[in-house]
């Protein structure tokens, strides 16, 4: 059924293209096809030690397959790592399409077709057993994303995506070629890497190529533009699901193909190879700078985009440190980020669907108008800010523990302060969109959108209580790389330094909330209209013209302090690179002067040079 899944995706995408005029039917077809990876996921669950009831696995999927495709062979095999990331993608994908069924209106067939192709690519990437397969599916995913980016009609998004997409592809290709040159094979399993500088360069290029997709700074430039100018269901999947593939690739190549001893050849810093340490530092910088930039955004989607960049920086830190604790933390963070960022983007989409606005300063007061959207977003924001009443905290905790365990004195404070920064922009979303002065008389989002959001919230709640379940499915990955899994029970995670008992936190919270509720219900209360606000006795009349919303330029003092340093820093750097290329380009262009005399002189000169070179020398 594995190859059939791929066929189903290709045929499905053609069918939905043909159904362009009937968006509803196209959505149903797309969702039906999109469930296939989910079935595969369930069927393969025993691989990571999960025993699911057999009636859940409706279809059978091969665990390993090879398929001749012309010059090359497609080699596919499911691994625990692939399963973990497939879990993230396959669960998000149908829900995102469900959301899209009411969100995407024009040219829906193209949308679903491209979405199916992205999933096809991702599915292949997660199963790839050799570099050719990996690259083919990786690029299919990349260009189908490009097709979706094109729908946004935004110059910077298209240019930056394709430019960085080619950069990423070429870095990967270059790196793959180096590995091929050194090992003579494309198969991941058969590569025995020698510790030579060239191999290290290859691995670095590959990691850099993945960093583009994972939007690590300074290779993140495309992400804010793309995230802020595409349709929300797609962006939810891009940020939630597809960006994880970059980190999937990093783990695969840093711990599956290369190994810790390989990196340790060039020395270690506090038990972590310098390579990993550098990645962790870049990750920490990304986490911090992404957060700072997110704080300064007014466009809701840009804010979420920079927040994505920042949060994914943590994943990079975990991968860089590379101890079992850190890898577990990275995977857990990836999982959390998938769900909460998907919810946030979808909530943003629902808000846009009802109000038609993106700017935080133009929204407000939707919490009472769209309570279910608000609550879903609230949960996601709690997870984003890693408040310990969602699963968001467990991941960050693991990462902090890992960093302290290695004695990282300088990386850890940056991680922590980026975490605090997350509160700032999290509150900006809450306040600017859902709280404060109501400005739009709107209804709650449609049912399909609510269902999609709330199902995505579910894992955040479940893994809040039982973070051990995530650790259960990450343990086989660690074992595969010869590492000791992190000690845990369903609700207690234990490290060398401390323990974290979720049940204790939750029960204590319930208890204190109960106490607070008693205190609070003591007295009756009166709800007053929103306009009844204390404004130095000034009654707010004429709501049309007076705005009490403080969300525009919300963190202005912050921008005064940080704006100069961070705003457009990376972008300007890349613009300089581009300007250099364009300078060269101008030079090349000047060759073609448009004059026959010059052209014929070139020919004669070329002839003379050749004659001189060969005959006289």
């Amino acid at each position: 059924m594995l190859m059939e899944t791929f066929y189903a995706f290709i045929i499905g995408s053609l069918v939905v293209l043909a159904l362009n005029r009937f968006p509803r039917i196209a959505a149903v077809v797309a969702i039906a096809v999109s469930l296939l990876p989910l079935f595969a996921l369930i069927y393969w669950a025993p691989l990571v030690g999960l025993t699911l009831p057999s009636y859940l696995s409706l279809l059978r999927f091969e665990t390993e397959i090879s398929y001749a495709l012309g010059p090359g062979t497609i080699l596919l095999q499911i691994t625990p790592l692939g399963w973990f990331f497939l879990f993230l993608l396959a669960t998000t994908f149908p829900l995102v399409l469900l959301f899209a069924s009411s969100f995407v209106r024009d040219n829906a067939g193209g949308f679903y077709a491209s979405m199916l192709l992205t999933m096809l690519g991702s599915f292949g990437v997660l199963l790839a057993r050799d570099m050719l397969t990996f690259f083919i599916f990786w690029e299919i995913m990349s260009w189908s994303i490009l097709a979706l980016v094109l729908r946004g009609h935004d110059r910077r998004a298209i240019v930056s995506y394709l430019a960085f997409g080619s950069l990423s592809a070429m870095l990967l290709l270059f790196g793959f070629m180096i590995l091929y040159y050194k090992t003579g094979t494309f198969l991941f399993g058969e590569m025995a890497l020698e510790a030579t500088p060239l191999t290290l360069a290859g691995i670095s290029m590959i990691v850099a190529g993945f960093a583009v997709k994972g939007a690590l700074m300074p290779l993140h430039v495309w992400a804010p533009h793309v995230y802020s100018r595409s349709e929300e269901p797609f962006v939810a999947f891009l940020s939630g699901g597809l960006s994880k593939l970059g980190y999937f690739g990093m783990i695969l190549f840093m711990y599956g193909v290369a190994t810790v001893p390989f990196f340790a050849t060039w020395g270690t810093f506090r038990g972590v190879p310098y390579f990993g340490y550098a990645l962790a530092v870049i990750g920490a910088f990304t986490a911090f700078a992404g957060t700072v930039l997110a704080i300064m955004q007014d466009d809701l989607r840009k804010l979420l985009a920079y927040s994505s960049i920042g949060q994914l920086g943590y994943v990079a830190i975990g991968i860089g440190i590379g101890t079992p604790l850190a890898l577990t933390g990275a995977l857990f963070q990836a999982l959390n980020h998938t769900f909460f960022k998907a919810v946030l983007f979808l909530a943003a989409g629902a808000v846009y669907y009802r109000t038609g606005r993106w700017k935080i300063s133009e929204l407000g007061g939707l919490g009472y108008k769209m309570p279910f959207t608000f609550l879903a977003a609230l949960f996601a924001i709690f997870a984003l800010a890693s408040i310990p009443i969602t699963s968001g905290f467990a991941a960050k905790w693991l990462l902090y523990e890992a960093a302290i365990e290695q004695g990282f004195l300088f990386v850890t404070p940056i991680m922590l302060i980026a975490g605090v920064g997350a509160f700032l922009y999290a509150y900006k979303i809450l306040y600017g969109v859902f709280l404060g002065e109501p400005r739009h008389d709107v209804r709650e989002a449609p049912l399909s959108q609510l269902v999609a959001m709330w199902i995505l919230v579910l894992p955040l709640v479940v893994f809040l209580v039982f973070p051990g379940w995530v650790l259960d499915i990450t343990s086989p990955i660690l074992q595969e790389y010869g590492m000791q899994p992190v000690a845990h029970t369903p609700y207690v995670i234990t490290t060398n330094l401390a323990a974290y008992n979720t049940i204790a936190v939750i029960l204590a919270l319930i208890g204190t909330l109960f106490l607070a509720l008693i205190l609070y219900k003591w007295k009756p209360q009166k709800v007053v209209p929103h306009e009844d606000n204390y404004l130095a006795g000034e009654p707010p009349e004429n709501y049309e013209y007076i705005s009490m919303h403080a969300a525009s330029n919300y963190y202005e003092p912050f921008e005064d302090v940080f704006g100069g340093i961070f705003r457009k820093g990376a972008e300007r750097g890349w613009e300089i690179v581009l300007a250099g290329a364009e300078f060269l380009s101008n030079g090349a262009r000047r060759i073609y002067t448009g004059l026959t005399e010059d052209y014929s002189i070139y020919i004669l000169l070329f002839f003379l040079v050749l004659v001189g070179w060969w005959l006289l020398w």
């Binding site: 262009r589 000047r590 073609y592 002067t593 448009g594 004059l595 026959t596 005399e597 014929s600 002189i601 004669l604």
Partner: protein
């Protein structure tokens, strides 16, 4: 292999070629360029004909005397080349005419859009 006698022909051929190329490289007037191209063609044709020449050879006509006749192939080649050259030249003139009709000049302009 190549007879001494032919060296002046090579010189002539080279001279024609050089003049032609010089014309192409220095003139901007279409007609002058076309004339220069004609010179280049002629130079090359002279070279090819010289290739097949045998000193004292006759025309390769079937008259029983097989002993000494010039190689017919280069002549055939040259004939073809001349035909082609003429057709190219005719086309070039037609293009030049068209260009003149559109712009009123035969000079290729330097400031046009067709550059860079």
């Amino acid at each position: 292999m190549i007879p001494e006698l032919l060296q002046p022909v090579f010189v002539i051929s080279a001279a024609l070629l050089s003049i032609g190329l010089y014309g192409v490289m220095s003139k901007r007037n279409m007609l002058k360029i076309i004339i220069s191209l004609g010179l280049v063609d002629t130079g090359v044709n002279v070279l090819i004909v010289a290739m097949g020449y045998l000193p004292g050879g006759t025309a390769p006509i079937e008259n029983g005397n097989y002993a000494l006749y010039v190689d017919p192939v280069p002549q055939a080649l040259v004939l073809t080349a001349i035909v082609i050259g003429v057709s190219v030249m005719a086309l070039a003139l037609a293009v030049a005419m068209g260009y003149y009709r559109k712009t009123g000049t035969l000079e290729l302009d330097k400031e046009g859009v067709m550059k860079w």
